[in-house]
């Protein structure tokens, strides 16, 4: 398959489409479930959904042209049914364990998990179908940061320094160093992995959700969830500021003052279980 790399403004270097890291604990847990013939797809998909990199790989595989329905599947559980345990095992075996990720981006995993839970809670409260698909979008919303941290650790250092020295938000520092931010990296990865348009828009537009043209709702939900995750300080997205909440989003999602309080209560409850 032809692989198109993404050129950054950081010394003109490229982000390459290549092996991404994953987390060892989740791999072991999934492996144990896959080896056990009594495991259900629900159990396995719940564990996989906790790991952004493994989730992305599974979705990438099921949406690849080999299976013949690119861009259709955005649920981890559906992906498991269609791939089968055999292929899942193959994906896991081939996933190199990259311990450096935890140190490369401290707190991002917790932030991503928090955003996943907040996304599905928001989706459920406002009555969206398939809230679990919103959780996938929340989980993967910052994956572009991981890609940059792993492939261009020096650029990541410059971003961190800018955040510290000039008190910038992470996304502003990314723009200064790379010429664009993780939302652009997300779009590039989604295109390369043939992810469905709803996920693609949520990942690429979670910072400007009113610009999403096809599936604004998913982008709006993740935008709000990202805000809530930072508000409650679950994990870290790379800086200690609360992301800007676009007031139009609340209106677009039909969240009134009364619904807002109920939403906060439910999100708080969900975070408490983390």
């Amino acid at each position: 398959m032809p692989e198109t790399d993404l050129r950054t403004e950081y010394q003109g270097r490229l982000l390459a489409v290549k092996e991404l890291p994953s987390l060892p604990a989740v791999l072991e847990e999934v492996n144990a479930l896959v080896e056990n013939p009594n495991s259900s797809t629900e159990q396995i998909s719940k564990v996989i959904a906790k790991d952004q990199v493994l989730s992305a790989k599974v979705l990438k595989m099921v949406n690849s042209p080999i299976y013949g329905f690119p861009g259709r599947i955005s649920s981890i559980q559906h992906a498991l049914v269609l791939l089968g345990f055999n292929v899942i095992r193959g994906i896991i075996i081939s996933t190199t364990v990259f311990d450096a990720m935890n140190t490369a981006m401290v707190g991002l995993w917790e932030h991503s998990q928090g955003c996943a839970i907040a996304s599905s809670t928001v989706a459920r409260v406002i009555g969206c179908k398939d809230p679990e698909e919103y959780a996938v979008a929340g989980l993967l919303h910052d994956i572009g940061k991981v890609v940059v941290a792993v492939q261009m650790p020096e650029a990541k250092q410059s971003i961190d320094e800018l955040v510290r020295q000039e008190d910038l938000r992470y996304i502003q520092a990314e723009q200064r160093v790379l010429g664009f931010a993780h939302d652009r990296v997300n779009l590039w990865m989604c295109n390369h992995w043939n992810l469905p348009p709803n996920l693609k828009e949520a990942l690429a537009y979670h910072h400007k959700p009113m610009s999403a043209s096809l599936y604004p709702k998913m982008a709006q939900v993740v935008h709000l969830a990202d805000f809530l995750t930072r508000l409650y300080e679950v994990g870290s997205g790379g800086d200690d500021q609360v992301s800007a909440l676009d007031p139009q989003v609340l209106r677009a999602l039909g969240i009134t003052a009364g619904a807002w309080e109920e939403l906060l209560r439910q999100v708080e409850e969900a975070f408490a279980e983390l």
Partner: protein, 311 residues
């Protein structure tokens, strides 16, 4: 000799084997990708399958036969020919070669001309694979009939499921054939993964053509398999509709008389015929009985399965 350039994989930690195969053909005819271990090759294999795999039985991290098994047990990769390099042909003895689906093997020390020719033959043999359904690569009619007839003659008990989709034609008409093919490929995966992994004993999935599929499982397992197929299919099929149709829960299309009509979201119907104590005489008995049952299943617009109650 070979028309367009081919892409072969060789999985070996041994430098001598690597050097040997690279010398077989000019790079303009065969492009080799070399992997020193199975682990490294797996992701490439799954994501971009090559035209042939030559695998060393001695890999540092897994058995070469494990690689064969993984490739051959998935309908989307099964057509890739696999040749194993062994130290002694004795290690193939006693293996279930029919189940392994290995295409050929080479024994060390490799004989220069013979080895290259045999690998090339394995490639061409696989390319001639006639029976597989060209879309799903599942076994086609010839294999299906042989399999059923063989079981009947051996007087083995089994349950035979005939599967087809309701409102598939309306979907095809509204969205076009390419979108219809996506649904057939999805259905094939749902069938394969609903049968395999859960069932002990005989298991088979075939594609008759169009939206008609069959599966064979032991009698005791068949209800569980039907329920799994229906649950999985019903959960996944809405993803194949446009968002507005999915939201509405119906599809606007034309019926067989050419009239505009609203159709429900596709459903899956399964008719199950049993062979108990050798009651089926011939493949024709099974399919005739299944066609009657299918009419019953079709009366329900929702996904449903009907078991042959004839004792």
């Amino acid at each position: 000799m070979m028309g367009r350039s081919r892409h072969f994989f060789v999985l070996t930690p041994h430098e001598d084997l690597r050097q040997t195969v690279l010398g077989w053909w000019p790079a303009t005819e065969v492009r080799w990708t070399v992997f020193p271990s199975g682990r490294q090759a797996l992701e490439e294999l799954l994501a971009a399958p090559p035209d042939l795999v030559l695998v060393d039985a001695r890999l540092p991290d897994m058995s070469g036969f494990e690689v064969v098994r993984l490739i051959k047990s998935e309908n989307v990769y099964r057509q890739v020919p696999v040749v194993v390099v062994v130290d002694d042909a004795g290690c193939l003895q006693g293996r279930d070669l029919a189940a392994l689906e290995l295409d050929d093997f080479l024994v060390r020390p490799l004989r220069p001309v013979e080895s290259a020719v045999r690998v090339l033959l394995a490639y061409h043999r696989a390319a001639r694979e006639l029976d597989a359904n060209p879309l799903t690569k599942l076994p086609g009619n010839t294999s299906i009939i042989h399999r059923i007839q063989d079981l009947i003659e051996r007087r083995e008990d089994f349950a035979l499921g005939y599967v087809d989709l309701d409102f598939f034609k309306a979907f095809n008409d509204a969205y076009g054939f390419a979108r219809g093919d996506e649904v057939l490929l999805m259905t094939a995966r749902v069938l394969v993964n609903s049968v395999r992994g859960y069932v002990q004993g005989i298991q088979f999935v075939g594609h008759v053509g169009g939206d008609d599929f069959v599966f064979i499982v032991p009698e005791a397992e068949v209800e569980g398999v039907c329920q799994r197929i229906i649950a999985h299919f019903d959960a996944i099929v809405p993803s194949f509709y446009d968002p507005e149709d999915r939201e509405r829960g119906t599809l606007l299309s034309v019926d067989r008389q050419g009239r505009q009509q609203e159709f429900p979201i596709m459903a899956i119907s399964i008719a199950v015929v049993f062979n108990r104590g050798g009651q089926l005489q011939h493949f024709g008995d099974a399919s005739a009985r299944a066609m009657e049952l299918k009419k019953l299943a079709k009366k329900n617009p929702r996904s449903t399965y009907v078991l042959d109650q004839r004792s």
